[in-house]
């Protein structure tokens, strides 16, 4: 599911220009041609079809220029190839350029300062196991609901939870609260009244339809995240 892969990204990187370019020319070309909607064809080594496609660059800042090396920061739509962006910029500048370093600094609202190294994680786990100290580990582990904060939500009655946990479709009569502006075919998060994430699904109705209709499939369950048995099985009688 493109819940996390479809999010906007931010990167910091270094491009190497094949000849020095005056900084104002560099900035002007970027503003003219490489901010807003751009078109790019994925490179040879890519998982997607090599068809030219449109992507959006939200910002493209030059942080520092040192001869032919340029430190940049860019914010872009999911699926943007930064390597290709730099290559195309080099072409537009008529000198050629390639990306020499790249670091992703943001995925949606997840930022670098929420990250932990493997060593930190392992140590935090040991503190808990050996010393019963939960503090570090609780700073590292985010509840799964955090990963789907940006997904529109549908809240359901306790009587509907177990069925959804087993992959059954969600019907309108199981729904209590719907986020506005859900369209058909959108990824939605199915939540309990206590705000636990049960599953991710694809909406088959709009928010208004979910509110008004009594029959039909409201959401097709796609990925169940809650363990079975936490909520009881509800007999229809």
């Amino acid at each position: 599911m493109p819940v996390l892969t479809g999010l906007n990204k931010e990167y910091v990187g270094v491009m190497h220009l094949h000849k020095e370019v005056p900084e104002d020319i560099l900035r002007n070309i970027i503003v003219e041609k490489f901010i807003g909607k751009i078109r790019q064809r994925p490179p040879v080594k890519s998982a997607v079809a090599r068809v030219e496609r449109e992507r959006e660059i939200y910002f493209f800042d030059i942080l520092e220029v040192d001869g032919k090396d340029v430190l940049f920061k860019v914010g872009c739509e999911a699926g943007t190839y930064i390597r290709k962006l730099i290559h195309d910029l080099g072409q537009a500048l008529k000198v050629g350029a390639h990306m020499s370093e790249l670091r992703r600094t943001k995925v949606g609202n997840f930022t670098e300062n929420q990250t932990h190294s493997l060593v930190e994680i392992r140590d935090a786990y040991e503190f808990w196991k050996e010393d019963k100290d939960e503090t570090d580990l609780r700073k590292i582990l985010f509840p799964v609901e955090y990963a789907t904060m940006h997904v529109k939500r549908v809240f359901v009655k306790d009587s509907a939870v177990d069925a959804v946990c087993n992959g059954s479709p969600l019907y309108p009569k199981g729904i209590t609260r719907i986020q506005k502006e859900i369209i058909r075919g959108e990824t939605v998060a199915i939540m309990t009244l206590k705000e636990e994430l049960i599953a991710l699904g694809i909406s088959k109705m709009t928010s208004e339809e979910m509110l008004k209709r009594k029959t039909g499939t409201a959401v097709r369950v796609d990925r169940v995240l809650m363990s079975r048995g936490i909520y009881p099985k509800w007999d229809k009688a």
């Binding site: 819940v3 996390l4 892969t5 992703r104 995925v107 997840f110 670098e112 929420q114 990250t115 932990h116 190294s117 493997l118 994680i121 392992r122 786990y125 808990w128 939960e134 580990l137 609780r138 590292i140 582990l141 985010f142 509840p143 799964v144 609901e145 955090y146 990963a147 009655k157 306790d158 939870v161 309108p172 729904i175 209590t176 609260r177 719907i178 986020q179 506005k180 309990t192 009244l193 206590k194 705000e195 636990e196 994430l197 928010s207 208004e208 979910m210 509110l211 995240l225 809650m226 363990s227 936490i230 909520y231 009881p232």
Partner: protein, 67 residues
Amino acid sequence: MWLIKSEEEINPEYGKSPNDRTLEELINSAVIITDKHAGPTSHTITAWLRDIFNVKLAGHSGTLVTI
């Protein structure tokens, strides 16, 4: 922001708010954001984390986000 279809009472008998999870419960359903050093693949890191925490399932969603 919300369309209300029905009013329901919260039953304390089953389920709990995510904030009230025990650490064991959290481990089984958590998201970790790791800063992966160059070298090992995301797949390797995911396997390491699965082993450290001794859970059955772990997945990842590209660099910078591991589930």
